[in-house]
Amino acid sequence: MKKNGLYEPIIWHVKKLFLKMKMCLFFLLTSVVSVHAGVSYSQNTKLTLNLKNATFADIIEEIESQSEFIFMVVEDALDLTQKVSINVEDLTIEKVLGELLDPTKNSFAIFDRQVIIGKKEGDIVSHANKPAPPPIKGKVIDASGAPLPGVTITIVGTTRGVITDTDGTFAIDANPADKLVFSFIGMKSQIIDVGNLTRINVTMEDKSQELDDVTVVAFGKQKKESVLASITTVKPAELKVPSSNLTTAFAGRVSGLISYQRSGEPGEDNASFFIRGITTFGAQAKKDPLILIDGVELSTSDLARLNTDDIANFSIMKDATATALYGARGANGVIAVTTKEGQEGKVQVNVRVENSFSMPTKRVQVADPVTFMRMQNEAVKTRNPLGLSLYDQEKITMTEKGLYPDIFPAIDWYKTMFRDMVCNQRVNLSVSGGGKVARYYVAANVSRDNGDLKVDKRNNFNSNIDLKKYALRSNVNINVTKTTELILRMSTTFDDYTGPIDGGSDMYKKVMKANPVFFKPYYEPDEQYAYAEHILFGNYGNGGYINPYAESLKGYRDYSKNTTISQFEIKQDLEMLVKGLTARGMFNIDRYSEYAVTRKYDPFYYKISSYNLTDRTYSLACLNPTTGTEYIDYNPGSRYINSAYYLETAAEYNRSFEKHSVNGLLVYTMRQEKTGIASNLQLSLPNRNMGVSGRLAYNYDTRYFGEFNFGYNGSERFSKNHRWGFFPSIGAAWMLSNEKFFEPLTGIFKQFKIKATYGMVGNDAIGNDNDRFYYLSQVEMDAERDVFWGTNLTYNPGGIDLTRYANEEIGWETAYKTNLGLEIALNNGLSANLEVFHEKRENILLSRIIPGTMGVIPSVKANLGIATGKGVDCELNYEKNFNKDLWVTGRATFTYATSEVKKWEEPDYSGTPWLSTIGKPLSQTWGYIAERLFVDDAEVENSPTQFGAYMAGDIKYRDVNGDGKISALDQVPIGFPTTPEIIYGFGLSVGYKGLDASFFFQGSARESFWLDINNIAPGVDENAILSCFADNYWSENNRNSYALWPRLAHSNSINNNQTSTWFMEDGSFFRLKSVEMGYTLPKQMTKSIYLKDLRVYVSGTNLFYFSKFKLWDPEMAGEGLGYPVQRVLNIGLNISL
């Protein structure tokens, strides 16, 4: 409507109005001055016009561009070509129109943002008196169900129209053959056939939701129906979780994504995610997807920091057709996110405030100190009866009785160190809106995440984790001319962190390695140290034991990170040259910087040197008088500065000729990334990519679709012969539901589409970044070689280390991807996407097998590996509004991705085929088959030899090759891969009036992990003893061959420390990922407090889970002793103004 108004304001023929409307208008027109309860806009908006000899049309256009007013002129009421001059400043619309129309004697009425110009007073009344057929009535509401006044309704092909009333109702005379257009500023126009209808109810949708009909594809957008690539689009609202880390929301919600989160530590809690699993196996190759935010390659952390409220579109691209254009980087799939842009319309302000209560999903259960001492003693004695007991009987007895806790301490380190619960806060604010010339979206958000360490008030610094994140975003779109759009996007994020020196996870690990009975966390000063200026931390022996309390208090790490992204984009419509042709250019610069410092003192450690049992006083002895410090020392930490620029120019051609639609695209890209602080010369050189990509898509009658894509890309990593790669792909789809023969089924199916694609995609991020120039040899000219010549053994000439041999032949890793898909949408609200995929990855970089006798230490690499991946991903959606009060949406996803090695240079395994990696998944683990524990020493004697020293109660392995000894040759593939092969999730949301509730379950399956016995072995070092092992281990009194833990050992048993099925665990789980309940206040109430919308809600994540594994949260897998995954309870408030 508004756009049309640019050139020809709608000529408005008022025939007959609904009575109320008529009365109102009549009143308005006769009184000339517009008075209306809701017309504050017209009173608040001030206009400034200075036009000489302009036509009325120009003036109307000018007013429309300055404001949100829309003009309607009654047919023949005004000669729009008539020239007038006007010069006003800061006047309301009434005053302006008064001045303008006074000479022509035209009358006008202002209805909120609609301006109607009539011929003279009473004009409308005369129209009202004309006889007419019974009007079509109806009501227009917005997405929230609120009536929408001021919507323009016109009959297509005529100039006739009406506008809706304050309660959204309207009436219009129309013939059954007519089509009605409903339009409103900032909303999507709708066309409805009148037919036999006498009542038409229309729900208007925001223009932003137009995106629903298009899908973001590589370098552009396509109509959803014509997309034949495999792309999953997720509504940003689906990803809303009470966390300041977006990546934690992915698991189970995005079909095609394998995702898991191993740690809950603020700042370190990024989930890992892979599109359709991992199909490359280079140890340090890039395995995770390409992340594009507003078209620009950024990092996982940048994605993690995105705020869901700012996301307009979130999609992942999976197959060759979707990713081929990103030739160099697309092989592992692409996650593409676009941020919101401002919409024409009034200012929208959205505020969200959340407060979360966070606690571990599960705490590791540890045995009591007395059991600890008994088992530690047993660990020594059971293997060496002559060994020295670590704790004498007196200590054990006294500790058990709880006497003299100063000298017989029993410390629960977990309780000493950690709080049960912490609070985190988040606030988001966004402001958006815009007019004809410019649109804007501005957002700010602040979050604060705390760690759960206890802090001693005697330190004046806080060593608990305190992570504050700030983010600002500003997206501005400017229409420079009617065909040129300029977009400026700026965003910046800041992380400010203080926390323990080695991080939160390390604190958890230290607690698990702290002796509970040797010393107290700290001692109250005795007489001698009464005036000590420092905390008297406890320790033992040489002061070399871990005192987690001292570790946490001794200092803190402080880091700041900043990412700034500036993007400039111009879009030019080249319709004047060729219809359907557009061109655009985009330039992006981003900078990342980070620095960290640590400040700490070296704690003084004390032990009790004598104790007076009668008055319970003690005297202390300092264990490290020379190495402890009272003052704080400073250490600079990591520093990074990275900068990247990206240039993209594209021309696109989009045109339909009757039943033929053609889309052509050609893109040129250039990217450079540099790091400012590199550890060596080769790393300091810029990373560069450039390429040309193109697409040609065609569809006939939206029934048959065909598409060809290609990427031709160059990478600086390879020698000149292998520098460029060409990656084409093709695809086809058939929309059965648009076929004639399908018509009998259209009652059930809204859409039925099958599609298939095949193509190649490249990956240049193979191998370690340190090694990127494989075609060059690398020599470390200042290698550390400890040779000390000379009289005083001080002359060290240094050394030379050849760290890589040159290999010219190394080139692109290429993926050949096949995808078959089925898209179904039913009329009852159910829709489904089912896809089957297969991928063959060739030229995977791997290390050659070089025997030791060659004396070559650096691993020799070659593009020799081949692997395949295959699987299924599907999603099921349900969306239905039962009536204006009740709606239900549901979503379920299922992703299965498995991989298999096809080719790998490996030793000669003909004699032991089970050692071969060929035919096995990529993250398969090899290990020994643990049969049970040895029953007695006689069995040990009569069994194949194993590892190191072992005896009854140690793990007995199976001699697979039967050579009488257990060796590497007996390792077989055990368990599932270490990344889950299945990720699934499902959830339902229900709304009734103002109330809404939702839940989401998520699970993963087919994953194994191994306990790292170095960290949990009871009796070894100061390892905390997990309760489950204390309850069930092999001992001389309890010779259970199937006990959970084998015979204790004081130092790690080499025999038991082999990777085997004994310590293999099932990583699958099923959890209630999230629950949310909200209440939106009724409109009348919110209006009365001058708000547009107000919603309060409570939500929770990771509420409970089911798993076979009981020691810790199974999602953490082998990282279980680190910072636990968090359960979060959250209350929030969302306000729109």
């Binding site: 022996g541 002895a621 010369l681 050394g799 050849l802 025997p851 004396g855 030793p907 590497a968």
Partner: protein, 637 residues
């Protein structure tokens, strides 16, 4: 449609135009191998890299000989590679000293070292600013390193795959798989390398620039090594060893020659003779009491003990023919050797390095003969208690009780070992009294300051290794120590003298004065009479030195004592094939968990040492046999 084609063309040509150098990000002059041989400084760096690739003798988890024969041990709490291997847990899958293929540091594939040497030898000609003599010297040094590495591999693993030239990196899978070669061929190859280095005369007789070059090879070191190689070749393990009759190479021939060649001893003796001459001409000789300079007045007994200690641990003393500087004896080893001399709040030293009673008993009586042969020695009651008296005032604290076995021993006993109530001169800020009879001593009974300080750290036999502690290492106060660094004595002149005595004894039908001469030089320095006199006067076998077999036993005993705790016995017991007989049985010490003196001096078994035939050579790591199916595993593994 037609109109857009030009735009596309422009776009494409733009892309291709700029692409030519846009992706060329690598500037010229990025460091490559050529830069390593561009001038004398980089060449010296590469030379140092070659030296660095030799095995490190001064570390117990690096040098298999340190603990391997249980000449010294750690307590059972230690699970480092050294003790694990010594306790018999070495295996193809868990090779604790993987000098075959390890890629880490300091235990690293010796083949990688040879590879470095080959690169050096192939490229050294490129360096233009070196004088010819400097270049030749470096070539000789690197050739010698290459020989040293092959020799080490040969003695540790048996048959090896000599890496005479480097293999190309893109050699085919078949091409990189090589066979192990016959032992004699490798010996011949090593001698070829050594003779090349020696006859080139490029090695210095003496190091002139002592501030930057001490630690590099001399002509004496090369001759020493050649003598050692020839002696090993003549020794029973490698000379006609019929135990390996069925250990066959890929041609079906035995890896070890099956006929004993007496002539090899002669060659070895000649090489020893040459080496001794060359050593003497470059100033290498036994370190004598007169070489020991001190401002303190002290008894002759203490002076001799200190002299003997200095002969090993004084930096660059005249007895050192060559010592490794890339892993010198510093804090690492010495911290494990020194006991605490007074009550301390910090455990500065551990005293973990324990000498078993079996080794302790090998030292001679003060009469210079084994204690079980000494007619005057109360052998039967050696584990009983005796109180320190005036005659032992410089050896044992007067008035304190200790075991009889610690009394009436030769000076080397007191210079090599520290023990409960045994005098320990020096090494502490308060331990160089004007009257050396007042010097401090360890108190090691359980609960005393030299015993367990914290769990896991204690001496497990009651005998500390005094020998490896430099006299100049000092406790500055009770909680801090400064450690004197010295090169581990890989080649010591005394060793060469005993080599010569051994070779002479073996090549002759019966021992004569020439044999006695060289062993007696070593004994005399240690304050003992010659073998003939000592045995004649004190032994219950007075004629022992007159027979070849008896003299062999005496020489072996002398080596065990003189070279105790230097790792020599590990290699000797293998090349003599005596390990099988000697290294099966209990390894003993005092009961260090007891505080009562009677309980403490109770003989306790710490380990049961086992040695089977397979242990003569280390296992080839199984991973390498998988990588290269042409490799044959050593017998027994």
């Amino acid at each position: 449609m037609k109109k857009i084609i030009p735009y596309f063309l422009i776009l494409i040509s733009l892309a291709l135009l700029s692409s030519c150098d846009y992706l060329d990000v690598v500037p010229d002059n990025v460091a490559t191998l050529d830069n390593a041989f561009s001038n004398r400084y980089t060449a010296e760096k590469y030379l140092a890299t070659c030296y660095w690739s030799m095995p490190k003798s001064g570390g117990w988890n690096e040098n298999p000989a340190m603990f391997g024969a249980m000449e010294m041990i750690f307590n059972k709490e230690d699970d480092g590679g050294g003790m694990m291997a010594a306790r018999g847990y070495d295996s193809p899958t868990e090779a604790y000293f993987n000098y075959w293929s390890a890629t880490g540091s300091p235990v690293r594939s010796l083949y990688a070292g040879v590879n470095n040497c080959n690169v050096f030898l192939a490229n050294i000609d490129q360096v233009t600013d070196l004088e010819t003599y400097e270049k030749n010297r470096m070539i000789a040094e690197v050739t010698m390193i290459k020989a040293f590495l092959h020799f080490y591999l040969l003695t540790y693993y048996g048959p090896v795959c000599p890496l005479k030239e480097n293999t190309e990196i893109n050699e085919s899978t078949e091409g990189v798989r090589v066979y192990r070669e016959k032992v004699d061929d490798t010996f011949t190859y090593i001698l070829e390398l050594l003779n090349g280095a020696i006859y080139s005369k490029a090695l210095p007789v003496q190091i002139q620039n002592r501030t930057t070059e001490l630690g590099r090879f001399t002509q004496a070191a090369a001759c020493f090594l050649r003598a050692k190689v020839l002696l090993y070749w003549a020794s029973p393990l490698f000379n006609g060893n019929t135990n390996y009759e069925s250990f066959l190479d890929h041609n079906g021939e035995p890896f070890f020659n099956q006929t004993y060649d007496q002539d090899r001893w002669k060659k070895a003796a000649e090489a020893c003779d040459t080496a001794i001459t060359v050593c003497n001409s470059s100033g290498n000789r036994l370190y004598q009491m007169s070489d020991y300079v001190t401002s303190k007045t002290m008894s002759q007994a203490t002076r001799l003990v200190n002299t003997l200690r200095h002969s090993v641990s004084e930096r660059w003393n005249c007895e050192l023919v060559w010592g490794s500087t890339s892993w010198p004896v510093d804090e690492g080893v010495q911290q494990q050797c020194i006991p605490r001399f007074e009550e301390a709040t910090q455990q500065t030293t551990t005293g973990n390095m324990s000498v078993p009673l079996n080794v302790v008993e090998k030292f001679y009586s003060r009469n210079g003969v084994p204690i079980d042969e000494d007619a005057d020695y109360d052998y039967a009651h050696r584990y009983e208690l005796r109180t320190g008296d005036e005659s032992h005032i410089y050896y044992i604290q007067k008035g304190e009780q200790t075991a009889v076995v610690n009394f009436d021993r030769e000076p080397r006993f007191y210079s090599t070992l520290g023990f409960d109530r045994g005098k320990w001169y020096g090494n502490s800020y308060i331990n160089e009294p004007n009257d050396d009879a007042e010097c401090l001593y360890p108190k090691d009974r359980f609960g005393e300051f030299s015993s367990v300080f914290q769990p896991g750290d204690y001496n497990t036999t009651g005998y500390f290794c005094k020998k490896l502690v430099s006299v100049n290492t000092t406790y500055r106060d009770r909680n801090t120590v400064t450690y004197e660094k010295y090169p581990f004595p890989d080649m010591r002149f005394a060793d060469l003298l005993l080599f010569y005595a051994e070779a002479l004894n073996e090549m002759k039908d019966a021992p004569d004065e020439q044999v006695y001469q060289y062993i007696d030089m070593v004994r005399e320095r240690a304050g003992l009479s010659g073998v003939v006199k000592s045995w004649g006067n004190h032994s219950i076998y007075p004629n022992k030195p007159s027979t070849k077999a008896g003299m062999r036993e005496i020489i072996q005993g002398e080596r065990a004592v003189e070279l105790a705790c230097e790792g020599s016995y590990y290699w000797d017991s293998r090349r003599w094939k005596t390990a099988l007989k000697e290294q099966n049985g209990p390894v003993k010490g005092w009961d260090i968990s007891k505080s009562d003196v009677h309980d403490y001096y109770t003989v306790t078994t710490v380990y049961n040492q086992t040695f089977s035939f397979k242990n003569y050579f280390a296992p080839i790591p199984e991973s390498d046999i998988i990588k290269n199916p042409k490799l044959v595993q050593n017998p027994g593994w």
